[in-house]
């Protein structure tokens, strides 16, 4: 497999890597950079567990090839907020008991962030639409939808 060199930033840090051209962003994050917060569920863009932000837009990182990453700005769950400074979305997910097994949560958080970045005051339908590509088998989505609503309120209050 042909190799290529890519330059991009992940959670604000600059990265330069030489990787096979068929490597996906998901594998770059997990295998090359050790950022295992982003999850692998289907490798076909169906489950949304690998969702990250790329240049401000949510993408299934399993469908993004190395070449497309050149110059991009990537945000993963690790860049959302740490234990010391949780993002309002993370706080809201804790407060609304929106986490069970937790495997879909990193992707769910990134889809929710993409929504709130564009639309600070989403309706329930808009929230449902925004996370419709993120499958969850545990929660029945209801606590997740509530958490996203709560996070929107929190973000508004902070402004």
């Amino acid at each position: 497999m042909k190799k290529l060199t890519v330059n991009f930033t992940v959670n604000g840090e600059r990265v330069r890597l030489r990787v096979p051209a068929n490597r996906t962003l998901l594998d770059i994050l997990r295998e090359d950079l050790g950022l295992t917060g982003t999850k692998r569920g289907c490798d076909t863009g169906e489950c949304g567990a690998c969702t990250v932000l790329m240049n401000g837009r949510s993408v299934n990182s399993c469908l993004v090839l190395a070449g497309e990453v050149e110059g991009a700005e990537i945000i993963t769950v690790e860049g959302l907020g740490g234990e010391e400074a949780l993002h309002p979305l993370q706080e809201a997910f804790l407060e609304e008991d929106a986490v069970q097994c937790g495997f879909c949560i990193p992707g769910m958080l990134m889809s929710a962030k993409y929504l709130l970045d564009r639309n600070p005051d989403p309706s329930e339908e808009e929230i449902r639409e925004a996370i419709s590509g993120n499958l969850c088998r545990c929660t029945g989505y209801i606590p997740i939808i509530r958490a996203i609503k709560r996070a929107a309120l929190k973000l508004k209050e902070r402004k």
Partner: protein, 754 residues
């Protein structure tokens, strides 16, 4: 008053999960680690004539290629019956059988090596339907015949009952294969360790079952096989047998190469290999009096067990003993067969035999009410079990509150039943309706086996507390429940309680985390451990104060002379040389089941649930939309009401998939489903408004009165929807899933094999 129990305490494991720090199985790596891959069968039933691994072994970067010939111990594993090969030899029995495995320096090389392995087969005729498999001339999946198990119930005399009946109705129902669809695919990492054994890290639901089977395969003492459970990214009963096989393969590769080996299923491999929920055919006959009294019930069920027994003997047993539902029936006859076929094998999945039986019995009850011109709720209340009644297996319900009427009445009011039955809404094209289903469910394992758990609680010298428990956190929240119980019983702030990973070398064998039993048995064991520790601490305080008496009250340690906080009391106990760790054990009360006679008390207690669905049917497309669900569940006592509601939301959503969307289609043993693009589980756009109702009638035999909840939430919605569709359209659907073609045409359109 409780300080931690019965309160919506925040989950102890959620912070790691929202920050991406929680390490799931695939996230674990070790230096020098190799990557494994498994070659699977090409036919659902075939003789293996030859396996040639020579070419694969020569590929650069390949460190081992193994087959059944490389197994030092037992070639077979199993939960109940040892019938599933780690690697198939001589014969493959389903399309997910493993033939060989490779360990290589990287994944690409491992996959390349797989394609270099040559297997010669002689294709054999297969059997793909459980009732076909029961015929004498059917191909034999295993040498000893196709019947995995047979169970029965016999009470009274059904023939006499049917003679006394004014009305007899007979109906057939069918259910489908479904996939657990845990979002995390199966993964393990095995590494050889210097005490001559193996360590296996993985998303393994029942680590002790896996430990026992892997030890058997490796020919090692169980003590030399250490399983460390990683957080499970969902399981729902699904990460049991399939994980045992995977762990055994990874262990064999690791021991062969002397290096750590990671084995991860892709979603396609997971769907091909993992076991499913059993499809059932269920034939019921019901005898009724004109006034609506049930006099006799006969049921015949055949469950497709697929190629291996797995937990089929237990799944079908639960269907059998709960076949008559939560009703008073004087004459009962149930016959259930679990059958081998060359389909994907089936095993444990949330509900465990009840979703199938409930779809039948709860649809049937609605059909009976309709025949009699009665309201479905009135009919259920008339025949439903009350305190002191006898179940269909002859068990008198005297030790706990029989809460059936309470849960039915609660959902009736919450869904606005009376009004919606009269005026469901809708117009010519869009019809609306409301339906209900209810159940009782035996808590914990029942007569399946010894039902015991142990939990160790340790207090460190700084008065922090650790819990070592062999009960699996798969999202349901058992870690938080145990922390709540220990904080309550020791009077320690919950922030100072830590749960370590479930590691078979450190925790007492508590059996499998199944049957919605973790809160009952784990909570009970944690409580028992705390009681022991309290005795030790109180003894030290008595010595310290020269006191007559020492006791624990409202989270405070007291003597007649002094009051001590937990931290102060622990300080004194340590200064006085007391050992502050204890293992508590909990065993469920004795029960009795007579398998020969088909009668007895299968479970020590029951939980009760009712769910009502308000639905909308598009009569032009067949599309069913669930608008609202009311779900009332009696749980004994909710240790954590917020997490209990979470179980209801999740169980309802999963059951919505079972009722309307999901089918793991299999054609002649070949799955037509490969990934989530052709298998639709409910998304955020599908789930309705859910009204969760927790009913608490504390049980004398559960810790703090607690019983079960995980599974009952997932066993009622499919029949409630079927009954609502009937109310909306007058069409009775007796086969799942109730997707567009079933609703519109009343039959399934089969997809072609790809």
């Amino acid at each position: 008053m409780f300080k931690y129990v019965n309160r919506p305490v925040k989950r102890v494991d959620a912070l790691a999960k929202v920050t991406g720090k929680a390490l799931y199985a695939e996230d674990i790596s070790f230096p020098g680690m190799l990557y494994g891959a498994v070659l699977r069968a090409e036919h659902p039933h075939a003789k293996i004539l030859k396996i040639n691994t020579a070419k694969a072994k020569r590929i650069k970067g390949v460190r081992a290629v193994i087959t059944a010939d490389d197994i030092p111990g037992s070639k077979l594993v199993g939960v109940v019956k040892l019938d599933q090969p780690v690697f198939a030899w001589e014969r493959v029995r389903y399309i997910g059988d493993g033939i060989a495995a490779v360990a290589a320096e990287d994944m690409d090389t491992a996959r390349k090596a797989l394609s270099a392995i040559e297997v010669d087969y002689e294709v054999l005729p297969g059997v793909f339907d459980p009732e076909e498999a029961l015929k004498d001339d059917a191909p034999k999946v295993h040498e000893d015949g196709n019947v995995i198990v047979y169970h029965k119930v016999r009470k009274g005399d059904v023939e006499k009952g049917f003679k006394e009946a004014d009305l007899v109705i007979e109906r057939e129902y069918k259910t489908q294969f479904i996939e657990h669809s845990y979002i995390e695919p199966e993964a393990v990492v095995a590494r050889p360790v210097d005490y001559g054994g193996i360590e296996i890290w993985g998303c393994i639901q029942n680590a002790f079952t896996t430990q026992k089977n892997v030890a058997r395969v490796l020919g090692l003492d169980m003590a030399k096989v250490r399983i460390i459970q990683t957080p499970l990214g969902g399981s729902f009963g699904g990460k049991d047998d399939v994980m045992t096989v995977m762990a055994a393969r990874a262990a064999l590769l690791a021991l062969k190469t002397g290096r750590p080996v990671k084995l991860v299923n892709t979603r396609e491999e997971s769907m091909r290999e993992s076991y499913k929920r059993h499809p059932y055919v269920l034939r019921y006959k019901l005898g009724l009096k004109r006034d609506g009294t049930i006099v006799a019930l006969q049921a015949y069920m055949a469950a497709d067990g697929g190629a291996y027994a797995s937990t089929t003997p237990f799944v079908t047993w639960r269907s059998t003993v709960q076949a008559a539902g939560p009703y008073r029936v004087p004459h009962v006859k149930v016959d259930t067969y679990g059958v081998y076929t060359n389909n994907p094998y089936t095993g444990a999945m949330r509900g465990f035999g009840s979703p199938q039986a409930n779809f039948a019995i709860e649809s049937l009850m609605d059909e009976a009410a309709n025949e009699l011109g009665m309201d479905p709720i009135e009919f259920r209340l008339k025949n439903g079990l009350r305190d002191g009644d006898e179940t269909a297996t002859g068990q008198k319900l005297t030790r706990h509150r029989v809460s059936l009427h309470e849960v039915i009445e609660k959902v009736r009011d919450a869904i606005n039943w009376e009004e919606l039955r009269k005026n469901p809404g809708g117009d010519g094209k869009i019809r609306r309706g409301v339906g209900i289903a209810c159940s009782f469910r035996g808590a914990s394992l029942g007569a399946e086996g010894v039902d015991i758990a142990g939990v160790e609680v340790k207090i460190d010298s700084d008065a922090s507390v650790s819990i070592e428990a062999g009960l699996t956190e798969m999202g349901q929240g058992i870690k938080t429940v145990l922390a709540q119980v220990v904080a309550e019983e020791l009077g320690v702030p919950i922030e100072r309680v830590t749960l370590h990973p479930y590691d078979t070398s450190r925790v007492p064998d508590s059996g499998p985390t199944v049957a919605s039993r973790a809160t009952i048995v784990g909570g009970g064991a944690a409580q028992a451990a705390c009681w022991k520790l309290r005795e030790v601490i109180l003894g030290a305080l008595q010595e310290e104060d020269g006191a007559e008496r020492a006791w624990f009250e409202d989270g405070v340690y007291r003597t007649e002379k002094n009051k001590y906080s937990f931290e102060e009391a622990v300080g004194i106990a340590i200064r006085r040389g007391k050992g502050l760790n204890a293992v508590g054990w909990f065993r469920t009360p004795d029960i009795h089941w007579d398998e020969e006679k088909g009668i007895g008390s299968p479970y020590f207690t029951y939980v009760y649930g009712a769910q009502a669905a308000y639905v909308e049917v598009d009569t032009e497309t067949g599309k069913v939309r669930v608008l609202r669900v009311a779900a009332a569940h009696e749980v004994g006592r909710a240790i954590n009401p917020a997490m209990a509601r979470g179980q209801i939301y999740g169980g309802v959503a999963m059951a919505l998939g079972y009722g309307l969307l999901e089918e793991f289609e299999v054609s002649e043993g070949i799955p037509l489903v490969k990934n989530f693009d052709d298998y639709s589980i409910p998304s955020s756009l599908d789930v309705p408004e859910v009204i969760p109702i927790i009913v608490e009638n504390p049980d004398p035999d559960g810790p703090f009165g607690a019983k079960s909840l995980g599974e009952p939430t997932n066993e009622l919605l499919a029949p409630a929807i079927a009954n609502a569709i009937f109310h909306a359209t007058g069409k009775r659907l007796r086969e799942l899933p109730m997707n567009l073609e079933m609703v519109l045409l009343g039959r399934k359109l089969r997809r072609k094999r790809k």
